[in-house]
Symmetry: C2
Subunit: 313 residues, 2 copies
């Protein structure tokens, strides 16, 4: 998980999988266009990535970096990690089993099936689905993908940061990143290191990194609220813990109503239809939880678009 | 309406109104990412423009190019032209009256009001609202904006083409543009001239340019169907007629179900929430109504995002 690994992954994506991993738009505008008192805001429109979130980068990198057994790949997730794994498996033409808890909606199960995945419903909550998934993996020997805590997954996410720097022509003064299990911010930290001010953002009701920093070590937290479907990991990943300790300057939490306001603002004012987890950066600026310097360029990672459009009306 | 006028308008936007007229993203990808057999597809994401469509460019340019009387500005439109005029008037701090027919939804009227416009409901159909608007303009002397058939409006739309060329680093081999009254394609033709292959796209049920080309002159057509709210002009504008005669190579019509399929594809596969009128370019490629050469770069102008998100589900 260093810059060389990220470079290698990015070049492989570009040379052989450009029809799958998209170079998503980086949208620069004056801060004033968003009513924010800084020189520039950069919106990295990663919600338009294949599978509707940045997770396609990590999952494809995981699959390309390992021999894939005839049993294929296996994952426990009813959310973006499951969708991204299924999409990556489909493009490589390998089997994919996705374990989900019974709370996973019909619509999400159908989406996974439409990507060719075998969906297995096990248990009432995520932990039970994960347990069943791990047991099945032992039996079949399938390649397990983890939503955030595997080096290849973090490296894949890091290609997003490299892309921001290449498209932007320089390193932004700060980067605001939503954190669930921390795979995305870990990848971004691995690429930027201390060259940019990295700010971690979490919902008040899912503060895995914030609590870990308070306690001095990763701890389980209770998660709920508006962004729990995407940022609902119970504990910060061990890879993310290490990388954020080294390179993340601030860890901030935001209230659900402010996240929701920012999400609706992005739709109404910018015509960007994004999931709540993708709106934390704007919420941090709009509530002044994070106040950039006047001359700064601030990059917001708009990380996912898997939203029911009816909720944007 | 020449390149110098467009250049002047674009520089004024950038230097003084960059917080209002956005430099919207140009998203380049291999044709294969969209399942299209050409080298590159460029999506110009103009649906993320202020006011939700390209029309903000023309309306602001119209307002900046004329003295604005104390009566302010006036327009007849329940659609994107009305919204764009109201938004431009708001940013300049001048009064705005918008005449709409009674078929204009409450939601649209509220949106106009939220932009500070005085909304006047007159008549059952657009023609009657326009008549009342013109009469009112005679009384007050307010500056009239027309949705497409004024030189400053066409020039403003032309700034979009200049932006594509600057962002893309070259002229795309072809540009696919939706046509209603023709203001957008006229501006694009004024900028590109014969340097790119310009293709005009219309719904079968609103073929103003297609019929004019068949008949050899602009004629009234009956308009209906999925994109009529945005492309529902009854007759091609006189400025557009002239410019398209000179520079548009092909005029194609598309069926509503194909337009709808492309609109849903843009949402489901790309997380772009756009109005039907903005999906004609992709529909033309997906149905092979337009087949680019293998080595071509094809630019699709994604012109508007004023869609009820509930219709994307």
């Amino acid at each position: 998980m260093n810059r060389t690994d990220i470079e290698t992954a990015a070049v492989r994506f570009k040379e052989r999988y450009a029809y799958f991993i998209r170079e998503t738009p980086l949208w620069k505008m004056p801060g004033a266009a968003l009513g924010i008192g800084c020189r520039e805001v950069w919106l990295k429109l990663e919600h338009t990535q294949t599978s509707g979130s940045f997770k396609a980068r990590g999952m494809l990198n995981r699959l390309l970096s390992n021999p894939i057994p005839s049993a294929g790949v296996i994952v426990a997730s009813g959310g973006n990690a499951g969708i991204a794994t299924a999409a990556a498996a489909k493009v490589l033409g390998v089997r994919c089993e996705v374990f989900v808890p019974s709370v996973c909606s019909e619509a999400k199960q159908e989406r996974l099936q439409s990507l060719g995945a075998d969906v297995v419903v096990e248990g009432a909550v995520y932990a039970e689905a994960l347990q069943a998934c791990l047991q099945r993996q032992q039996e079949t020997g399938a390649l397990l993908t983890h939503a955030y805590d595997q080096p290849e997954v973090v490296t894949g996410a890091g290609t997003l940061a490299r892309e921001i720097e290449m498209q932007g022509g320089c390193v932004p003064d700060s980067v605001l990143v939503s954190v669930g299990g921390g795979g995305l911010i870990a990848g971004i930290a691995a690429w930027f290191g201390d060259r940019s001010r990295l700010v971690a953002l979490e919902p008040e009701q899912a503060p895995t990194l914030h609590e870990a920093r308070k306690q001095g070590a990763p701890v389980d937290v209770h998660v709920s609220g508006i962004a729990a479907d995407a940022l609902g990991a119970k504990r910060i990943g061990s890879l993310a813990w290490q990388l954020t300790q080294d390179h993340v300057r601030e860890s901030l939490v935001l209230a659900d109503p402010d996240i929701r306001d920012a999400q609706l603002w992005l739709w109404k004012q910018m015509k960007l239809a994004v999931e709540p987890a993708a709106a934390l950066g704007l919420a941090a600026l709009q509530t002044r939880a994070y106040t950039p310097w006047q001359g700064d360029s601030v990059c917001l990672v708009v990380c996912g678009g898997n939203v029911d459009p009816a909720t944007l009306g």
